[in-house]
């Protein structure tokens, strides 16, 4: 770094990091040793804004959430300046909602701190590693396959394709229709069900994988197939359901 660059970029200061406007407010309340049930809104608002200005001067990006809170503080401040309605039986403190939010946030912050301690300890506890017990799980668990599991499966296939085809040059564009893939998968399942998803994805290129992904979601939606996963991070199995589908209808799902 040249001298010139130093003078333009200036020093880098590190500030305590806050995890949002409520965190910053709690910090200011603690710092000023204020009773949380009787917050001097004018003083806290000034300090809050001073903090935002300092952040701005340091070129830190101020998230919209912080600005929203600044507006809310000013709103509360203005409400407190209004003359009280003498006729109302119970006058509600304009600060009440903010106080409740602060107290609630503070509780969860404390829970998060205790989770953090547990996280450190529990990271050190290792279970026995996952081993495949030779092929298909004996009993198929119908527990829900999450979208993330599905995306994982496709990502694995994509990565494998990339590794196996390092410098593939695309010579012509093959268009894979969603309907073709639906038909192919459906016909495979007529021969054998369930099949392993990874086996069906083997050797497919990117476009094909996308078409299969969309086609498979359609088949699930139509209720013609079901997806099963025996164990966490386990292989995904695709199976026929009792509900037969009309294959001539698949073409409806092609876009354009």
């Amino acid at each position: 770094m040249t001298e010139d660059e130093i003078s333009t970029s200036g020093y880098q200061l590190s500030l305590p990091t806050f995890h949002g406007p409520l965190d910053l407010l709690l910090h200011l309340i603690k710092q000023n040793e204020i009773d949380i049930y009787d917050i001097p809104i004018a003083r806290i608002t000034d300090q809050y804004n001073a903090y935002l200005e300092a952040m701005e001067e340091l070129d830190l990006e101020i998230a919209a959430d912080y600005i929203y809170m600044a507006a809310m503080l000013i709103h509360i401040k203005s409400k407190m300046l209004l003359p009280r309605d003498e006729t109302a039986e119970v006058t509600e403190d304009p600060r009440a909602e903010l106080v409740n939010r602060l107290l609630e946030y503070q509780r969860f912050k404390a829970v998060a701190e205790s989770f953090a301690e547990l996280d450190v300890v529990r990271m050190g506890v290792w279970p026995r590693p996952a081993v495949s017990h030779n092929g298909e799980p004996a009993e198929i668990d119908m527990s829900e396959v999450s979208l993330f599991d599905l995306i994982d499966a496709f990502r694995t296939a994509l990565t494998r394709y990339k590794v196996n085809h390092p410098q593939a040059i695309e010579l012509k564009r093959t268009l894979h229709k969603v309907s073709d893939m639906m038909a192919e998968l459906y016909n495979k399942l007529k021969e054998k069900s369930p099949i392993r998803l990874q086996w069906f994805l083997e050797g497919r290129d990117r476009d094909e994988l996308i078409a299969i992904f969309l086609g498979m979601l359609e088949l699930v939606r139509l209720g013609g197939i079901s997806l099963q996963q025996g164990e966490l991070f386990g292989e995904i199995l695709v199976a026929m359901t009792q509900n037969p589908l009309d294959e001539s209808q698949f073409a409806v799902y092609d876009q354009r």
Binding site: D23, D65, A116, V125
Partner: protein
């Protein structure tokens, strides 16, 4: 030779996920009470005689696992970094979902005062949270719940094992850590300058 105990040990040895009491009782044709008693005895035996691992009751089941004190040696031997620690934002979000589930993203944002969508995505990807349907309000936002992975990760057997939220009392007035005090020193000086 206690045959039931030996059979349990064999199953636990091969399982990588917590096995439930009911599934063990069913597989072995024993009463759950008898199996539970045996499991406790295996755990006691391991805790007294075996240093390298223990039997833990977590995520609604039982599994063999190492003890935290061997983390370093395991990492070194297996040349593994291990998963990264959860961020404060992630822990806050987990804490809120744990106590308020099922809960939507806007409700979480409200409590935290900041947008939590990126954090939610990370937690879903790490399988600590899951989507559990949609709330029947305008926009039908997703509802989030904690998973069995969450219980296992934090060594909880059941979500009801969490201490009551009320037990996490007022922190205000508690002494602050040194680095926070140092940081405040810098900052309050800046604030004073501006107010004068």
């Amino acid at each position: 030779m206690n045959e039931l105990r030996a059979a349990l040990e064999a199953i636990l040895f091969v399982s990588n996920e917590p096995v439930t009491l009911d599934s063990l009782a069913e597989a072995l044709g024993e009463k759950p009470d008898a199996v539970a008693k045996e499991l406790e005895e295996i755990k006691n035996f391991l805790d007294v005689n075996v240093g390298g691992f223990t039997l833990e009751h977590t995520g609604g089941g039982w599994r063999l696992a190492t003890r935290p004190e061997h983390e370093d040696v395991l990492k070194k031997y297996f040349a593994r970094k291990g998963e990264s620690r959860l961020s404060i934002a992630a822990l806050e979000t987990l804490a809120i979902v744990a106590y308020r589930q099922p809960i939507t993203a806007p409700e979480i944002n409200d409590i935290r005062g900041v947008n939590s969508s990126a954090v939610l995505h990370t937690l879903l990807e790490r399988r600590l949270l899951r989507v559990a349907g949609r709330k029947e309000v305008v926009g039908s936002p997703f509802l989030y719940r904690t998973t069995r992975e969450f219980l296992i990760h934090f060594g909880l057997n059941d979500i009801r094992d969490l201490p009551r939220l009320e037990e996490f009392g007022d922190l205000i007035g508690e002494p602050m850590s040194d680095d926070v005090v140092a940081a405040i020193g810098v900052q309050s000086a800046a604030v004073d300058d501006q107010t004068e």
